[in-house]
Symmetry: C2
Subunit: 311 residues, 2 copies
Amino acid sequence: VTDKLSTLCDLGELAIVERIRRRLPQGDDVLVGAGDDCAVVRATSDADHDLLLTSDAVIEGVHFDTGTPFDAVGHKAVGRVLSDIAAMGGQPGWALLNISAPADMTVGALDELYAGALALAGEHDLAVVGGDVAEAPALSVNVFATGSVPAGKAILRSGARAGDLIYVTGTLGGSRHGRHLSFEPRVAEGLLLRPFATSMIDISDGLATDLAHLLRGGNVGARIEAYDVPVSAAAAGRRPFDHAMTDGEDYELLFTIAPVSKDDFLAAWNAGTGTRCTCIGVMNDNKGIAEYVAEDGSPASMDDHGFSHFD
Amino acid sequence: VTDKLSTLCDLGELAIVERIRRRLPQGDDVLVGAGDDCAVVRATSDADHDLLLTSDAVIEGVHFDTGTPFDAVGHKAVGRVLSDIAAMGGQPGWALLNISAPADMTVGALDELYAGALALAGEHDLAVVGGDVAEAPALSVNVFATGSVPAGKAILRSGARAGDLIYVTGTLGGSRHGRHLSFEPRVAEGLLLRPFATSMIDISDGLATDLAHLLRGGNVGARIEAYDVPVSAAAAGRRPFDHAMTDGEDYELLFTIAPVSKDDFLAAWNAGTGTRCTCIGVMNDNKGIAEYVAEDGSPASMDDHGFSHFD
């Protein structure tokens, strides 16, 4: 029995890999899990499906503070790739976890990190089939994940047209107060939206920045009713709307619906989920321009920077 | 035009992503490359194929020294996953590159890293379809890659049987003298071996350690003719054989061939490649035991530790 306070250095690489391997779930579609040069998986009826590929990193001091509970680090690492798959309308498939950790990290901490990662992955039918553990000066987790959609049915950032209604799930802002660690990726909602959404993105950098991606992708503009933007109770402070626009890491879905699909979409949404969904505006022909208006029709002011690395 | 001496911090995340995106090759099977929430790829006739998934990290100060040319870092990062795919007898598919870099890394350095990564990927028909750039205290590159094999045809670590002949490609040892940065992954050789090899692994931790994986996997033992082990000219020093056994990072293929297949294998090998291939021993029933013998039949001594993290 390994002491939870043993360090990764005490345990050694082979024992670490074996320890992780025993925890990973095995499904019928996983022919070879962790422990060979590659994982081997079998996709059923794949000829009718496209494969989604995504990866994300969470790095100590950048995406989480030193001292963050390790299960929350694992949750966030897996949650970010699940949110990417959700934003394509995808069904999660398989994942690999690359952990870079200081040699003095304890085995108990590694177990906690995996517990957080595997719990969330399991909830969303994402099978973690392997990965890598390497020594590094600071803790970071790189997650790679696959998903699938029926051929040609991925919801891209580029499909919005003038006249499409703009919706957002949940509430925005205040992620720094803890939600960036505990969010639930909107996988079921993304699947529900697949027949309806004309474009979709997950809000990782803030509504302002991520909406700009949809405008560029679709070569359209947008008018946003600022007072309709659903602000999180966590977005405390003087300018809750600014938080909602720019905090980022909401991991909510921002998507567009053609007016002709609106009634069917709302019926399916209300029958399929209890998740909040709010119409916040409409796409128009002012290419590349997002106009935010207050209740009286005057321009709503806001800080125009979402979160960006290297700024 | 961006100055090559600009830093990633000067450029900002969006411009970095756009810069990378323009460099990535687009193939017919890549429906959506970098720039959406996920890459979308279409696998042809996938129902008859299994998917291989692998990931590896190269970390500054662990897998390469500070000051290593950036193109060599990119080459090594991609080379490691290609070697994993080769060791399964796989055809490379798609890859994502996650780069974690200090904010003062220059754009020229990032370009060089990508140039090294993309050149090697291109040689082996691995399409880099996206990834992530994030800020971190030290440089590291996590690469995720897929490959494919006809259904059920992956060469595992576990297939060796008593009597199988043990072969190794190329020469071993001396990787620390630069070969760990410049190796050519044995992708073509891995494909050539698919109809013949009963088990296979790539030598990343040293012949001694990686052979032990095949013994454990197949529940067999091995007798190795130590004087037949092909030692690299780079394995200089007092005990070249020890280097060959334990240096690791050779990225050569270690594999087994059933005696009945030997003639067909050698004919296919000699017709298909000019790469050196050496028989170094035979599997036997001494489960888990690797016996190394000198030319006179006496035991050959060696240091018994391959490279391992956290030791």
